[in-house]
Symmetry: D2
Subunit: 134 residues, 4 copies
């Protein structure tokens, strides 16, 4: 299992007139935290794309426990629960400044060869960096 943590401050643009973070914006928080999670391992999604591999999302699940509010500094705990194969699962637990768990999310992504459009294994470097955690 691999775990990391990312702080994200809620932007005004992300709120809606209910005075909450709009529910569709959590997917962006997942993305920011997921990319940061890989960066902390020395891997960047940008390089992955430069190698011709894209990571489209296959599934997304979200549970909204409490609203996130404007200007809050959210703490996103990212977990990769299983060894990635041609797919990789990420879990997200989001806490507000009061350390209240306000949101739980999960996404399943594929590694896809951009040219052929077919699923592929993650690059060797990617596998090696993650191996010690599983």
């Amino acid at each position: 299992m691999y775990t990391s943590e990312t702080k994200i401050r809620v932007r005004y643009s992300e709120t809606d007139q209910m005075q909450y973070v709009y529910y569709g914006n959590y997917a962006t928080y997942y993305e920011v935290a997921r990319v940061d999670s890989l960066r902390q391992l020395g891997l960047t999604y940008k390089e992955l794309e430069a190698m011709g591999i894209i990571m489209p999302v296959l599934e997304n699940h979200s549970e909204f426990l409490f609203p996130a509010l404007y200007d809050e500094l959210l703490r996103v705990v990212v977990t990769i629960p299983e060894k990635p194969s041609v797919r990789i699962r990420f879990r997200y637990d989001i806490y507000n400044e009061k350390e209240q768990l306000i949101h739980r999310g999960e996404t399943l992504l594929a590694f896809v060869n951009q040219k052929t459009g077919r699923p592929c294994r993650p690059p060797e470097a990617f596998q090696q960096v993650l191996a010690p955690y599983f």
Copy 2:
């Protein structure tokens, strides 16, 4: 069961550099189709809010089968599968212009009294309009 249909054209702002609709934007498509679904019944979410009732999302589930592309006119089929109580479930099947099912989603929303912050029943008018379908 209640079913309706809404057409949504993919905006440039909704694409990402993978050349697909960004995965977080489907939540907005759900919202647009959901609100339109109620409007076709003579109900507007705007009036609901004016009556002091908000409908925060509790759960969201998405399956990405095929990418949606820029400028495509998507067809979103919305289903309310069960009689709403203090919660209401919506399902979304999204088809591209080739009539290919590209996406499946589901959201669970609550009716909440904005002042008290507590769950409540939908207004009488809302219940009456939906009653014949269940």
Copy 3:
């Protein structure tokens, strides 16, 4: 001068906690109206990109006169005030349901050859369709 009109309904995701449309979302309204404006002439931006021409925005100017509100059906009047060369200017006047002018915008875009990254003239078909208006 060429003028067209497009209706856009304000989405919940586009509002912010000020209860107004977030100021950054007008750029998307411009885009939707601009693309629709060309479509009404039989031109699609999608085809332009398929021909290897992209239209990045060079300048954007916005005046916010009155707020746009959730669920309003906005009317966007698009004007191409001058004959396009390697650049094309669009003006946008946005009216709310009370026919109040609430917003004025202007964008200057370039025609760029995606491969070379250099400015270029619009395709012949594009020029012919617009010619009668100038």
Copy 4:
């Protein structure tokens, strides 16, 4: 004159299929940098709203010199060029990682009493903190 600096990393959600940051997303970068600029002075926009003052945008001007790209860590230099009255002007110069000036923006905002909807002066604390710079 008051100047501050904020770093913003480009999110995947902010790119479009042109492989650039979508032009409408710069307004959000302005907002993030503007709010951070005030925070560095000990002022938070959140508190301002809690005091019943909102700051709607009246005008926005943007010049797109070079595209911003995915994952770049942008440096936004914010300037308040004049002493704020019932209005406040912000300028934004955005640099990419190569220290290339890629974008210039300017927004004019009003201080508005949320209850009355009328323009007002910024709170005393706000004026005092900014006074030394003008």
